[in-house]
Subunit: 243 residues, 2 copies
Amino acid sequence: MVDEPPPVIWARLSTQGRGPARTLDHAAITAVAVALADADGVDAVSMRRIAGRMDHSAMALYRHVGSKDDLTELMYDAVLGELDLTGIPSGRWRDDVARLARETRRLHHAHPWIARFGHRPTLGPHARRFSEAGLACVDGLGLDIDGMLDLLSTAMAFTRGFVEQELGEVEAQRRTGLDFAAYQRRTGPFLAKLLDEGEHPYLERLIVEAEDFPDPDVVFERRLEMVLDGLTARIDRATDGTR
Amino acid sequence: MVDEPPPVIWARLSTQGRGPARTLDHAAITAVAVALADADGVDAVSMRRIAGRMDHSAMALYRHVGSKDDLTELMYDAVLGELDLTGIPSGRWRDDVARLARETRRLHHAHPWIARFGHRPTLGPHARRFSEAGLACVDGLGLDIDGMLDLLSTAMAFTRGFVEQELGEVEAQRRTGLDFAAYQRRTGPFLAKLLDEGEHPYLERLIVEAEDFPDPDVVFERRLEMVLDGLTARIDRATDGTR
DNA sequence: TCGGGTCGTTTACGATGTACATTTCTGGAC
DNA sequence: GTCCAGAAATGTACATCGTAAACGACCCGA
């Protein structure tokens, strides 16, 4: 009587039954989609284009992925598989969390489109592997599961936010075809006018006093250390309380 | 000889000159676009739909905004204008930064589409106001401008990342038309199977031990405190060095 | 007064996601 | 060995998208 809820994509990955031998599968489709997104940006990922690369019709894909939304979830999880988690957890939580953060950042740089989807936390195999590894890193520190989640999620939230700001630049560059120099040429006159008006003291200090081309890796490490210090404080507080 | 660089949108906001009296302007267009995005999601924002609401043709908008990309930048800055920055800076940096974080989060909840654009830092008036206020909060703590930027950017990166995770759920709900309960119904059987296999100890602990419906505001505050502790450590280190 | 620039419209093009109907193939039941 | 339910893939079609191009209506400064 009541509609069966359509199962989540991960429970629906098809298997061979009756019918013609399949010439497509979700993994291959996902791989092509990822390659397309990497090469030409997320807007270049269209069902027709994916199908074209695989010498199939667009509609053939729907036999395997359900919808484009499903496909993005598959793409996201596929790419999580590239995370290198060997040797995690090591027993040194701070090193581990830092490594997870660096790996996450590296992944976003390799696939700048990752953050462009709004997802529920996916239940894909690689996402699960990541969660398990992450929580293992912050286990045994005297925190309950909510506390552990606080540590991990805070570090990851910082990382996501940092990376997103970084990638705003990169993505805009690709989208508009304007590199940073061209952007500065475009921006320059307006910026000069703003500074002339003298209403933006901090903007002025940023231009005059700030380091000109800071190494983004160094900046990331420096700020990550701050966040990790915050986590340390939390752990200390929890352990003091029970000591 | 060489092409003039087309000026940045903020330098191009048109003023009345020769020609028919204008019946449109960028502010009105932006307002309608924001309203549309709020009501029906960012995918509902199309030039035709905006124009329709204003009883104009789609192409009329292009007299005022140049491109849809420009429009998103206008939308973003417009919405930044809703930030309440009264009384900032107060002289208590920690309170101020916390308030900026809360305000930012509030803004993202009011306009869940904000993070879906990848932007360069915009030069719009409200973005400038926000930067100035933010940096003012962390001035006078004995840090140079790069250090100040570290404090502010770290707190904001955390906030963005946190909010984005929160909103993944909300946006997916709107996009798919499935509320959380329906999602759980869909997910449930698969999740049960996973737990049965016993390969996901932490996933299991999350379900069994973690607080069931944590208040997101409380979680945010708790994690924000951790980040602010990290900033404090950084400030202390800087001041110790010079003392 | 009138020419040139501004505002808005109309028409058009090549995309997009995907619903629907159709054809082509095959594994398992008899 | 035969046959057919059902799966795989295709082709066609529709509504919608961003925006280029050509055009007429308007109005200010010369």
